[in-house]
Amino acid sequence: MKLLTKTTLYIATLSLFLFFLMGIIFFQVLKNLSQADLNRELSGLKEVVESHLTQDPQHLPIRIVGIDSLSVQKVDAGHRQEEVFGDTLMLDAASNQFRTYRYLMYQSARGQGPLLVKIYKSTAPTDQLVERVTLMMTIMVICFLAGVFLLNRTVFANLWKDFFKALEKLKEFDTAKEPVVLGEQDIEEFAELKDVLEKMTRQLSRDYRELKEFTDHTTHELQTPLAVIKSKTELLIQSENMGPGEMKLIQAINASTNQISRLNSTLTLITRIENRQFTGVREIDLARLLDKHIEMLQELVELRGIELKKTYSGVANKIQMDPGLADILVTNLLKNAIVHNREGGSIAVETGPDRLIIRNDGAPLPFAEEDLFRRFIRDHGKGKGLGLGLSLVKKICESYGFLLEYAYKKEQHVFTLVYSF
């Protein structure tokens, strides 16, 4: 959820809840106030009635200003009635509707005998007032909410402008390029964020550069002594007075040196891929790439008596990636399919509009499936592989966001590479 949506949602929920609560309280208070007011008015009217009764206990005027209705009853001498206020409904003759009235009932001793007096006052005017005020309140709340909404949008966009700018810059940040530089910030928190981000990206860029340098130096430093060992053993082999025993020793040194040298260059390659040092992206025709490498590996295929079948989908399959890495990717997948095949087995290379599938016969994996792409995991029965080929493939796929899946189906290893989504 976007920051703006979330903030708006919070504000809306909270203010609606608050306004609802306040509305109820306000309504109650208003009602109580108006009731108290009516009570006071009724008490005042009681004085008027009393004074009328004092003047003329026999007759009350038909109309007394302020009283909507009046009832006077004679009661027995022993009757006692406290003074009470109450609400009641009465039928209004004119409109034939029930209306609410506030009344004051008391016992008057002003007449000849005890009288039960009930003074009625219509609540309509005060009710109307409460209604009006409530309506006004509601309209104000709606206006206020709309205002908050708009304000939130504009203020938000303005306040967070620098934040979004920084976010954009961060998205574009690449460890291989310059560290992020953000403009001056007048909001304290953003200024802090800017400092932290700049420091972090500077650190990242520096680490990356140092790692790159280290990798470069390591290869150089390792390859040179290896080159010396290799050249010396080769010179030694040329020596005339070497017996078969010595030759075997030299051969063993030579073979191991070659292995270290291969290991070193492959590990360097993996590091370079992880550091994203391959940036020369070009459009590559998958079918042509496959044909090229299949031809190069033809011998290996024939030697093992493997039948290789190609099925290319009619559509041109283009991959956007570094050509060098594309070569490494395809060679390693194909080589893997040849080496971990059985004598006289088969390989099926298939392309779809978005994927490359390579199937090959072979015994099930001698290790857990999830270890397949890990470094130095290999079938020790199968010659001198380094166990780096597939982890190299995996690294390349990861660096381009390709999907690489493995499955063992019908005694076949199936590698599926999905390169576009």
Binding site: D216, T219, H220, Q223, T224, L226, A227, V228, I229, K230, S231, K232, E234, L235, I237, Q238, P244, M247, K248, I250, Q251, N254, A255, T257, N258, Q259, S261, R262, S265, T268, R272, Q277, G280, M296, L297, E299, L300, L303, R304, P323, G324, T331, K335, I338, V339, K382, G383, K384, G385, L386
Partner: protein, 225 residues
């Protein structure tokens, strides 16, 4: 037959010199950029081997200057850096070949021969050892005057053996030479064996003596004795 070697690692340079001198090349050595620079135009070199990482200068600069000076000199870059961009840059500046450290000396010799053939003799040279004659231009092989039909790999293998005649060449170096990154150890020695068996059979069928010796399982040697 002068060869200039510019390489800062003494031990490696000495190995190269020893091996090349066994091959009959005369070598001039430079251990750094400045010595190399001074020696650039002292001789008419057949081939120059230049290391890119020199303590006091950039080997690429040396390649550029060498190419401006003499255009019929073969230039081979020797570098521990294997990045594609480096290779492309080196070749663009005028190098003829790019060899990544560590390399086999036998491969170096084969590359020198091949570069020299291209730059000096413009490929017209015909290699002749014993009764075997190879014309690299047409990629053809003859025993006496009879053409021998070889596959591409058998031809490459023969040329490699002949370029390193009288030297023991290891199976690893043959594998690297013939297949490069495609070999990678997996059963490539079986191929060498297969190709060599076929090559021998074809040459013998054409009437050539067997010049190829097995050396204690280490490698092979092409020799007239």
């Amino acid at each position: 037959m002068q060869i200039l070697i510019v390489e800062d690692e003494d031990s490696l340079r000495e190995s190269m010199v020893s091996y090349l001198e066994m091959e009959g090349f005369k070598c001039e050595q430079a251990g750094n950029y400045h010595t190399g620079l001074c020696m650039l135009d002292q001789h008419d070199y057949l081939c120059m081997l230049i290391d890119l990482n020199l303590p006091d200068g950039d080997g690429l600069e040396l390649v550029k200057l060498a190419r401006e000076n003499q255009d019929d000199t073969g230039i081979i870059i020797i570098s521990a850096r294997s990045a594609l961009e480096e290779r492309v840059k080196g070749l663009e500046l005028g190098a003829d070949d790019y060899l990544v450290k560590p390399f086999h000396l036998s491969e170096l010799v084969a590359r020198i021969h091949s570069v020299v053939r291209r730059t000096r003799i413009r490929g017209a040279e015909i290699l002749k050892i014993g009764v075997i004659r190879v014309s690299p231009e047409e990629k053809q092989c003859f025993v006496e005057d009879q053409a021998v039909d070889l596959t591409r790999k058998e031809y490459d293998l023969l040329l490699y053996l002949m370029a390193n005649r009288n030297r023991v060449i290891t199976k690893e170096s043959i594998a690297d030479y013939l297949w490069g990154d495609y070999g990678g150890g997996y059963g490539s020695y079986d191929f060498i064996y297969t190709h060599l068996k076929n090559l021998r059979r074809k040459l013998e069928d054409a009437g050539s003596p067997d010049y190829i010796q097995n050396i204690y399982g280490v490698g092979y040697k092409f020799s007239l004795d």
